[in-house]
Amino acid sequence: MEQVRETAGLAVRDAVVRYGATRRRPGSVAVDGVSLDVAAGEIVALLGPSGCGKSSLLRAVAGLEPLAGGTVAFDGEDLAGVPVHRRGFGLLFQDGQLFPHRDVGRNVAYGLETQGLSRAERSARVAALLDDVGLAGYQGRSVATLSGGEKQRVALARALAPRPRLLLLDEPLSALDRRLRERLAVDVRDTLKATGTTAVFVTHDHDEAFTVADRVAVMDAGRLLQVDAPDVLLRAPAGPRVAEFLGLAPEADGLARAERTTAG
């Protein structure tokens, strides 16, 4: 019992992801020995500049990229060899990836169709989820008529529908404009907390990370630099690179400003 509680949730150990590896060439390393724990019900943000490997890590957790080293486990169970569709993880893409040939309701219902629910149960759950994301009554709409924000809300409802044990969000708000992004970040956190969903949220925007997450993992060049709650992170950044990325480094900031003045 004791042990189960310790390992509840996601446990990533020394994960390595390589691209373009062949028998002769090792390829390039996208994720370089990352270890990360996400407790049940917790929301962790993976924060880092583009190309730092955070999306690769997320895809490896989902089972979409093979691990070149290390392990991914959930509730103490090693997931090596378990294919994507048996992991019970949800994934939300940056651009939603709604099925263009299905309407909103049938997009949300996609993950429910193999769960043996009756038609009435299914449509009740779809209606409830659409209500949760603020799109009540949208079932019959074609996905082509939705705005960017609405698409991401539908994608969120679709990902939550099969009650994933872990939800992975890959820059879900990055394609939206700033004001909408700020509002949706709050909505996403509320929805995840209300449903008690364990989640990993990838973003390059520190404000967004602080809004959504319980803890923030700062990543750079394939490695984790620091994993802490937002207030700890802001108070005690683990190094100049973390501080710079959080917008806290006075020297770097000053340097940039000095450059701008000389240029102007």
């Binding site: 979409l64 294919p83 992991r87 994934l91 893409f93 990836q97 099925f99 263009p100 099969p162």
Partner: protein
């Protein structure tokens, strides 16, 4: 927990086996089909040229090559093949460029109709085109005064008629997606419209033009039905020569040598075509998706000349032969107007030229074409599905590329070679004691072999355009690979499936090269019957051939129009 995990592991292992089995079957079935019904017949045929059967067994003997290659007639035919193909290609490209501009870069009322009209010749059976041009050039025909009967120019015009659509569609669909701002930038830098076109637009279109030209050259170099009908005794291609030497002189050995020559020509054209296609796929990434068509400007802008050229080509080269064919088919043998020729389609022709009536032949055509379409779509669809995947391992990726190339080969190897190869190999296929040649099954199979590359090229771009992340999204929602295939690839690829079925059916309906070898008199298809009718004397038989050609043309054009409707407006496909 432990039991659960064991079940999970077992399920995983079963799933992986299932995936390997599924993809293995998806590769093995088409490859097996290609090996038995394409590679084996063609290779056996080619080997006929290299070996002779003696009492001691097979011995290598290149005297066949020496003999055929030393004949003056061979080189005349090779020269004619290359000259006709070259002239046909150059003219198709020169006329096709303004057509592509007007039909894809300009907007005007009736554009969709004209685009459909331009496409029709490409799917018309070659025999029908031959008959139509022959009716046009014959003394008393609309162009009888030009003395083009059995002439080089006549054949080239018919080849352009066929392939104009290839250039217009291939170049046009590229031009449509070209960002107009590059040309506008050149104009803003002081370039004249002509200079902007020459220095900005033309280089961007280059790969598409090269790709179209290579395909057109290939089609022209392997043209069979048109040349057989129009060339008479003086003009031919390697393709018609193979046919003549096999069926008229029964000289299989020299026919096999000619098949090898043909393969050399075709391999060269295919190589150029694949190079150009690779460049085009790279180039396509540079272009935007914006709608860039503007209203046709006849008075102020520079659209007058392209529009005029297109109008002349469409009216003079495309509509005139068709209209001529229809009007001639309405002239009874005695010269009066009437439906006599169509009434005669219920008979077996004057002096019993045929074994079946033309309507029965039509029934044969529809039946074999339906079977051929089913075979082509199953085999070609599997190939397109496999080739549309991007495996993670480099070795598998290369294997997928090889599979793609292998199924383009039937496009290049002449239908006559395929049909001829069937005849010499499939009397005892794989040592089994069933003579496929008498079963009637060979005709649809041969037609399917010809149609498969078109099916693959129609479905592949659509399947490739499906965002792989859509499949990943389905998998994370708990869909097993089979369900992903059924719920994502299936519905999204379905529209291209409609076009592919239509394409395969239309091509099979008009297929003549292989069918002419394989169809028996009582199972003759419409194109075979038409060719037999024009070969027999008598105004009655000629009139029937014209009427039957109209019927076949209307049928294929209708099938194609319906299939195009199914596709809608989305870009895709190469032809």
């Amino acid at each position: 927990m432990d039991v659960d995990r064991r079940r999970l592991t077992r399920g995983v292992r079963a799933g992986r086996w299932g995936a390997w089995l599924g993809w293995g079957a998806a590769v093995a079935l088409p490859l097996g089909f290609l090996a038995v019904f394409f590679a084996w017949p063609v290779v056996s045929l080619v080997l006929q040229g290299f070996f002779t059967e003696t009492a001691a067994g097979r011995t290598l003997d290149l005297s066949g090559f020496a003999e055929v290659l030393s004949q003056e007639r061979t080189w005349r035919i090779v020269g004619q093949t290359l000259a006709q193909a070259l002239a046909g290609t150059v003219l198709s490209v020169l006329l096709g460029l303004p057509g592509a501009y007007v039909l894809y870069r300009c907007r005007f009322p009736g554009r969709t109709l004209v685009r459909g009209l331009v496409t029709v010749p490409f799917v018309l059976p070659s025999v029908v085109v031959g008959v139509a041009f022959r009716a046009l050039f014959a003394p008393g025909g609309l162009l009888g005064w030009a003395h083009l009967e059995e002439s080089f120019a006549g054949i080239v015009l018919a080849l352009v008629f066929f392939n104009y659509a290839v250039v217009v569609r291939t170049v046009g669909s590229m031009w449509e997606r070209l960002d107009p701002r590059a040309e506008q930038a050149a104009r803003a830098l002081g370039a004249t419209p002509w200079r902007a076109f020459r220095t900005v637009t033309l280089p961007a279109l280059g790969p598409a033009i090269a790709s179209a030209a290579a395909v057109v050259f290939l089609f022209c170099a392997t043209a069979f039905g048109v040349v057989l009908v129009l060339g008479g005794l003086r003009y031919g291609t390697i393709e018609t020569e193979i046919w003549t030497r096999t069926t008229q002189f029964l000289d299989l050995r020299s026919a096999a040598v000619l098949s090898v020559l043909q393969l050399v020509v075709v391999a060269g054209a295919l190589l150029v075509s694949s190079r150009a296609r690779a460049r085009r796929e790279r180039a396509l990434q540079l272009t935007g998706d914006r709608a860039s068509a503007h209203r046709l400007r006849l008075r102020a802008g520079g659209d007058l000349w392209p529009a005029l050229a297109t109008a002349v080509v469409v009216a003079g080269l495309l509509v005139l032969p068709m209209a001529g064919l229809v009007s001639r088919s309405l002239r009874a043998p005695d010269g009066s107007w009437g439906l006599d020729n169509y009434v005669a389609l219920g008979t077996t022709g004057g002096r019993n030229a045929l074994t079946v009536t033309v309507w029965e032949a039509l029934g044969n055509s529809l039946r074999t074409a339906a079977w051929a379409a089913v075979i082509a779509v199953v085999v070609g669809g599997l190939v397109a599905l496999v080739v549309s995947r991007r495996p993670r391992r480099a070795g598998l990726r290369r294997a997928v590329g090889v599979l793609d190339a292998a199924f383009m080969l039937p496009l290049g190897v002449s239908a006559v070679t395929v049909g001829f190869g069937f005849l010499i190999t499939l009397d005892r296929p794989l040592g089994l004691d069933v003579d496929l040649r008498t079963s009637g099954a060979l005709v649809p199979i041969a037609q399917a072999v010809v149609a498969i590359p078109l099916v693959v090229r129609t479905m592949l771009p659509v399947l490739r355009a499906i965002d792989p992340r859509l499949r990943e999204a389905a998998a994370t929602l708990g869909a097993a690979p089979g369900r992903v295939l059924r719920t994502v690839d299936g519905p999204l690829g379905a529209r291209s499936l409609g076009l592919a079925i239509g394409f395969a059916f239309a091509v099979s309906l008009g297929e003549f090269g292989a069918t002419s070898f394989l169809a028996r008199p009582d199972t003759a298809t419409l194109p075979v019957v038409i060719y037999r009718l024009i070969g027999r004397p008598g105004a009655e038989n000629y009139g029937m051939a014209l009427a039957a050609s109209v019927v076949l043309a209307v049928l294929t054009a209708t099938v194609m129009m319906v299939a195009e409707r199914l596709r809608g407006d989305r870009p895709g496909g190469e032809f």
